[in-house]
Amino acid sequence: MSIPKHHPDPAMLVEFSAGTLGTAQSICVAAHLHFCEHCRNEVLRLDQIGSQLLSQSEPETVDSNLFDSVMSKIDELPEEQEIKFDKEDLRFPLPVAKLFNKAEVVPEWKKMSSSVDVAQLVTGQSDYEVALHKICAGGKTPKHSHSGKEYTVVLEGSFSDESSVYSEGDFILRKEGDEHQPMGAQNGECICLSALEAPIKLSSPFGFLMKPWLRLNPM
């Protein structure tokens, strides 16, 4: 496994560690951490801030029955149902494996262009559209610009654009107005996780008349 060269902004890691990062971004950060020992250690150190603040908190008396209540719940705990992952599932980071391989309805790959397939993931939030993209070897995507933020993490293989080559674990943030033309590597297909910010909030009373926004940007 190569060492990722593109990392999330430290502010994102702080919010991840503090637990204030949105679901979609958290999935992307977790996917990056799967590949990046450097950032994993950084998060471990960041967790120590929370730990210190917790241990310095002014203790608050808890209800005198709380301990007994916890103990009786412990005695009634059902056996933990573990989801079994095989090796094939775990080639992806765990949250992706759960959302893709182990989803109640396994997402389908759909053709988006001659060289790109996409599979939408159900993540229980609507601020970002989270999906997997598969670019075939040497596949060219159309040049496009972004209408909102997009986070991308390479899960398998590599792709390149005008500015760099991105390999497994690389974390890429595209901002509004960025323009680029990603291209799959020649030597094999590339699978990426991406979270694309919803450009329009359907807040108007006629929102239902508008189509749910369509993903036009492949990467």
Partner: protein
Amino acid sequence: MLGTKIANFENKPKPSAKMGVLNSEKRSDQWSLLLVDVGLNRSRKSFAQLFAHFAPLLKSFAQASRHEGWFPGLSEDLVQEVMIKVWQKAAGYNPEKASATTWIYTVARNCRIDMLRRKSNTQHLPLENEDFWHEPDEETPVTLLRQKRSEDKVQASLAQLPPEQDEILRKVYLEGKSHAEASEELGLPLGTVKSRVRLALQKMQILVAPEFRDELL
């Protein structure tokens, strides 16, 4: 970090169940030893001691929350949920990796997010927050010594942060504000909030540029 590496942990030499046997590679603080005892021996006595120490801290942590949708009545629910998780997951606690306090903080953070998500979501998210902290199996262990040193550094330097940096970290970690929300509340530009956080992290030597990874600490 949370119970997902049980198999690996079993392969390592087991931490002595007899407490008090210490050497440089064992974590020796009282809470970590108790937590290991709960994990290995399902000791209710040790669990009771952990509860007596952590439940009041966790309640205080819960009461500090200013998350949207959070109200003080949830505090003891959170304490209860966290302590049950501690019991369930204790076998996965790896004292080489983190102190018991840090581990319990991560359990509390994850439970808090899951509780908030359950309250606010109409759609079901098939993930629990601890899934985000799953570690791949080929993990190279961070040595305890290095880990300890960084904990001591964070502890010592957190106490010496200028008030404006301390304030923001508290807002983020305890109240659960994003950088953007903190900037709005404090009437500061987002850039200022981010740079204060970054200065604090540099002081605590938490941030290390990727190119220096090998010289870490």
